[in-house]
């Protein structure tokens, strides 16, 4: 193959550090988690009772768990769609050579400097059902006073927006970097040929952005599935009435707060399988559409 080096040993040496870290710190503990998923475990003594696949059966037949799965999918879909479209739109705006664009670019990245839990705290204060400025504004404009402590759909909406907001900076950094890579001559040539702005974007800019978009799609999905428990914990604790009870929050609660290792391990295995399949699908289908210049 063109451009490839013939060395046989070197690639293994290059991979060795990564693989060693992964095996020792991820695979070994994960295998232990897999083993634990077949047990019921007493937290302190570690005394375990073999239960076979009972933990999995319990989860898969549980209405609460299935509801939580549904919520997670909606949540992830919301974060990915909202996060990617909003950040792409903003990045396109910000990449133009406008006066003040540099300042705006910097400001846009700020949210990313916050941890999910801190971001959640700020949003919870803004949307406080009685006193938050966002609630006051909504009340002034619409006359409604929605209470996301009671209204499940509204609560899910708020956590999706907060979750997507927290990732905006991350997405924008990458889209901006990607957009800079689009050769100006190419766009100008297309415009000279009479192509409209929209056409130029979809025909030229977007394909060049596709590796970045794909990367962000994977990253945002993983974020939505794994990293948001801090945000949920601070904002809703899965409530009201289970409306924002996403899988990773259940997992965090069972593993980290309630110390139900067996069932928590089973949940992590299921989550692992689900996200594994999702990532695979993304690589198979979306990955194929990616354009490598």
């Amino acid at each position: 193959m063109e451009g490839r080096f013939p060395d046989r040993v070197l690639p293994y040496l290059l991979l060795l550090p990564s693989i060693a870290i992964i095996v020792v710190f991820l695979i070994v503990p994960a295998v232990e988690a897999l083993r634990l998923s077949l047990f019921e475990v007493a937290p302190f003594s570690g005394r375990a009772r073999f239960v076979g696949l009972d933990n999995f059966r319990e989860l898969l037949t549980s209405e609460v768990y299935r509801a939580s799965l549904g919520v997670s999918l909606v949540f992830a879909l919301g974060i990915v769609t909202l996060g990617l479209t909003a950040s792409l739109a903003i990045a396109v705006l910000a990449s133009q050579p406008l006066p003040g664009a540099g300042l705006c670019r910097t400001a846009l990245l700020w949210p990313y400097a916050l941890s999910p839990a801190v971001a959640g705290t700020i949003w919870a204060l803004m949307f406080d059902p009685a006193t938050g400025p966002a609630t006051v504004a909504i009340r002034a404009v619409t006359g409604l006073s929605p209470n996301w402590m009671m209204d499940g759909g509204y609560a899910l909406g708020v956590v999706v927006v907060a979750g997507a907001w927290k990732m905006l900076g991350f997405n924008i950094v990458f889209f901006l970097a990607g957009l800079q890579a689009v050769p100006r001559e190419l766009k100008e040539a297309a415009q000279v040929d009479g192509a409209g702005t929209g056409r130029v974007f979809w025909r030229i800019t977007f394909p060049i952005l596709s590796p970045v978009t794909f990367f962000l799609l994977v990253m945002n999905s993983l974020y939505a599935f794994f990293e948001v428990f801090g945000l949920i914990d601070v904002m809703t604790q899965g409530g009201p009435g289970g409306a924002t009870d996403i899988l990773v929050y259940r997992l965090y609660e069972d593993a980290f707060i309630a110390a139900r290792w067996g069932i928590a391990s089973a949940q992590s295995i299921l989550l692992f399988v689900m996200v594994g399949v999702l990532t695979l699908v993304q690589f198979r289908f979306a990955g194929r559409l990616v354009f490598y210049g």
């Binding site: 406080d128 209204d151 809703t236 604790q237 009435g241 980290f256 139900r260």
Partner: protein
């Protein structure tokens, strides 16, 4: 050996030891040098969850105070996250064989700690005469006493009371010195408050499932079987029986009438109360100091309102306590240090100081007496409400506080049920039935793992 001889020998030993050391001390003082202790001080670690305003109270006041009073011992407090995280971290440390000496555990962790096999009950550690537990306020002692043994050292105990905004009461034409005593009072007052436009909503509460537990205890109703899990492990919850359902139906009616503005779990609704957007708040007594500090209006407090026509019970204890972990090879000095530390926090001055800076109970009668002598309660009547409230009512198995395995999860499930009912997604009965089914499964799982008892 005759006693006199023993004393004489002791005297000689004492003289022999102390004369040179006295000389060193004097010399050291003269030279301005503190004599080095013969041994390094015995160190005990304390893992706690006290953040914010409580952090200074536990590190700078309690631990530093102890270390000053007992130079041979050092208590090292370490913040290890919120309550649930503290327990998890302790579990990891126990499993790795290197636990801290003392760990602060919230009340819902009581059953887990009892079954851990990793603790030394306080009764076994403290010798008679070290600490006068008879001096402790009974309901607090009762909560942490299981099977006749005091399992953990009471520290930050609380209960729930009702807070109200006196300014709003006045604006609505109500007597600002009369809080509601019953649910009927609360409803009548609430209608007046909302009707007059004095506030957008009348009532809110934090800790929804704890409030349901409080309602059961306040009216001498069982929350779980086996005497609330105190005779043997609970195997079934009972909050979905007619009484529990009637309480939730009442709350739902308040929500329908726009009297209740549900504001979320734990301390989330405090903000609406402090902003004058809701007139009354059922909340933990642990909030009394900060609420008074934050409020820009006159704050009143009262007993939790009672439901008319129901038998009298008692409000129940919440908060957290100190548990002693076994660990491998704990020396006699370490055990001694732990006892000394407990003795220190049981002192009336320490107990009173902790109460004044937080609002948690002054846990001993002597401390209450001290506070009364200092006229603290006269100047801060809101701090006395909870103490008066738990003096009332009988001591029964229903009022000592429920013990459940997997209690953290069960609280969560009950919160969810209450929210579903208040939002009208399920009827109160259906919501509690669903929650009870899940809770029973969790109890069954817990009992299976921990073996029958």
């Amino acid at each position: 050996m005759p006693i006199a001889a023993l004393k004489e020998n002791d005297m000689i030993v004492w003289m022999r030891c102390s004369l040179p050391s006295l000389a060193v001390l004097v010399l050291g003082t003269l030279l301005g040098v503190v004599p080095a202790a013969a041994q390094a001080p015995v160190k005990i670690t304390l893992w706690h969850a006290m953040g914010g305003a409580r952090y200074d109270a536990i590190t700078k006041e309690i631990a530093a105070g102890f270390n000053k009073a007992y130079p041979n011992y050092v208590v090292e407090p370490l913040y290890t996250g919120k309550y649930g995280e503290v327990v998890t971290k302790a579990i990891a440390a126990v499993r790795a064989g290197d636990p801290p000496h003392i760990v602060q555990v919230f009340e819902v962790g009581t059953q887990t700690m009892l079954d851990s096999g990793a603790i030394i009950p306080v009764t076994e550690l403290v010798k008679p005469g070290d600490i006068d537990f008879a001096d402790y306020i009974e309901p607090i002692l009762n909560y942490y006493t299981v099977g006749g043994k005091l399992a953990s050292m009471p520290f930050n105990s609380s209960t729930a009371i009702i807070y109200y905004n006196k300014d709003i009461f006045q604006k609505a034409g109500l007597d600002p010195d009369t809080p509601p005593r019953t649910y009927q009072d609360l409803e009548a007052m609430g209608r007046k408050i909302v009707g007059s436009g004095a506030a957008p909503a009348a009532i809110s509460f934090g800790w929804p499932s704890w409030m349901l537990e409080q309602a059961h205890a306040m009216h001498d109703k069982p929350y779980a079987n086996n005497d609330n899990g105190r005779k043997g492990r609970a195997t079934r919850v009972r909050f979905n029986e007619p009484f529990g359902v009637s309480v939730l139906e009442r709350w739902k009616r308040w929500a329908d009438e726009k009297l209740l503005a549900y504001g979320g779990r734990e301390y989330a609704p405090n903000k609406a109360f402090l902003a004058g957007q809701v007139a009354m708040l059922m909340q933990s007594t642990s909030q009394v100091t900060t609420i008074e500090k934050a409020a820009t209006f006159r704050v009143g407090t009262g007993f939790l309102p009672r439901i008319e026509g129901q038998p009298a019970g008692k409000s129940v204890i919440g908060g957290a306590s100190f548990w002693v972990l076994k660990g491998k090879g704990r020396s006699e000095q370490e055990r001694d240090a732990i006892v000394k530390f407990f003795k220190f926090i049981a002192q009336p001055e320490e107990t009173a100081k902790w109460h004044m800076s937080t609002g948690y109970f002054p846990a001993t009668k002597t401390a209450v007496g001290l506070l009364q002598r200092q006229e603290w309660f006269r100047k801060h009547p809101n701090h006395e409400t909870a103490f008066k409230q738990i003096q009332e009512g009988p001591d029964t198995s229903n009022t000592r506080g429920v013990l459940l395995g997997n209690f953290v999860q069960i609280r969560n499930i009950t919160d969810t049920a209450i929210e579903k009912a208040l939002a009208g997604r399920l009827s109160p009965k259906a919501a509690l039935d669903e929650a009870a089914r899940e809770a029973d499964n969790l109890l069954e799982e817990y009992n299976r793992i921990h073996g029958g008892k």
